[in-house]
Amino acid sequence: MSEAFSIVVDELVKRFRRFTAVNRISFSVARGEIFGLLGPNGSGKSTTIRMLCGLLTPTAGRVSVVGFDVARDPEEVRQHIGYMSQKFSLYNDLRVVENLEFFAGLYGVKGAQLTERIAWALEMAGLNGGEELITGDLAGGWKQRLALGCAVMHRPRVLLLDEPTAGVDPLSRRLFWELIHQMSADGVTVLVTTHYMDEAEYCNRLALIEAGRLVATGSPSELKRGAIRGDLLLVECAPLGRGLEIIKRQPGVLDAAVFGAALHVVVGAADRARAELPAALASAGVATSRIEPIAPSLEDAFVALAGKRHDLGATQ
């Protein structure tokens, strides 16, 4: 396998008794790339990332990280990866610097390198001067950056992040992503899971996962462009409910739904619809104040892709 790919996942399967959590997933992540696994809770993201760092044994399929097979050389792989779990596995009763020292010790970072890495991590996390704070007292964003610092004490070539920003405030989230982008620019390969649709926009490339299956891969803009069958229009009209009823009945309208104080309408051809819809609405006594094409969101893309084979069934 070419060294261009830091992570290669080939036909990966994980079954828990009769439940298939991960169903034949394949993807590759290039060196320095930020790759996102996007999907709802229970779709198999965390299971996949745990198999990547050797915490879970796959039922079938192969995973290689920086050229090493995870099943055969788990220790070698662990030398090269940094893993940050959903719950930021920090010791809340330790001081900030004690957490950093502990994780450095785990990875065998010693001597001058240790001092240098701790200084770097404190700087990166914005915790300079806060070395002696008790970790449990930190606010979410700082805790999260500290966890990131702990995960990269040993300068891993691959960083695996499992829901790193869940519940963190947006400013902290942005700071965090800035750090991730800097690391990626330095050549670190990043694989991140998230269930926030908007957050996935920070990734270079995405894999949409639903119910253990890979639905689509591509860059955020590729996915948004390719997923929608027609064009998306924003329609502001009053009264809204009546407007929705009328629009749903119009030819050329593929889908229509309320979105806040407006409607999102998927049409076959935007130009024709922009000409025809206001008239149709007006004849039913609905006034249109605005009608314009908008860019579909990743959620639109996800719904379009996953919705095709979305089953309403329960979990097994």
Partner: protein, 315 residues
Amino acid sequence: MTQAMVQVDGLIRRYAGRAVIENLSFAVQPGEILGLVGPDGAGKTTTLRILAGVLPADSGGARVAAQDVLHDPEAVKSVISYMPQHFGLYEDLTVDENIRFYAELFEVAAAAREQRARELLAACGMTPFRRRLAGQLSGGMKRKLGLVCALIHSPQVLLLDEPTTGVDPVSRRELWGILYSLVFGGVTVLISTAYFDEAERCHRLLLLHRGRQLFWGTPAELKGMLPGAVLSIASTDPERLRAALAGADGLLSAMAMGDALHVVVNEPARRIPELRTRLEAAHLAFDGITTVAATVEDVFAYMVSREPDQRGRRP
């Protein structure tokens, strides 16, 4: 303006010497969807719990459906519905048994219950699962069952605590579809969310951060608070673009996305050509500059960035 369905004045709740919510004041009109938006620990759940009458407040006033919730929390319970963040139904009861249980607690007549249950279950696509144990439903289905039980007595006010967290996008859209149809029927909805993109679906927003109220108003009003405009510069290497643009005139902030650089500038008409020139001079390839709509998160991050240091609770 009609009498507000929910009226909150100077609401305060403390816990362990710390204010969990500080001085909240807002109102919700009948038939309106108010979104309580903020990260974990913002006070969303506490606010909803107080309004649902399950948690006392320390001071302030809160009226829901013309009842004083703080002085008589029980009076409000028959006209509202509260759905907690974590699935609050009985996993060892079937879908039908759960519905019946809640219907009887709200004294819904059997015939009315059956008719309403049938409508609601059909709207959620849950009709085939009436005899299934709630514990055996998927996450999205559980949320929908929660909503069905919450709606079985036709409440005037619906309080939903993060009903869409972790739910798949398709179920999430169905849920919003149901909410909008309720609102058309005059129901007032208070919904909390940690998804900033979801905030745009609400009629009015209450932005909360660490127990404080950052903003209360419509999404459009909120976006008006961001100085300047957001530009998207498409590129495969946004991080290098960011470095090249550092210190440019009128550049308020820059954020590398997956395949674009988002920058906030003060005067877009003047700055777009300037940025273009600067990037071309640095020989950096990019795929055009477009104006994009500011998101609620953009504004929230801007507001939080002006807050004092909040590194630890005990600095």
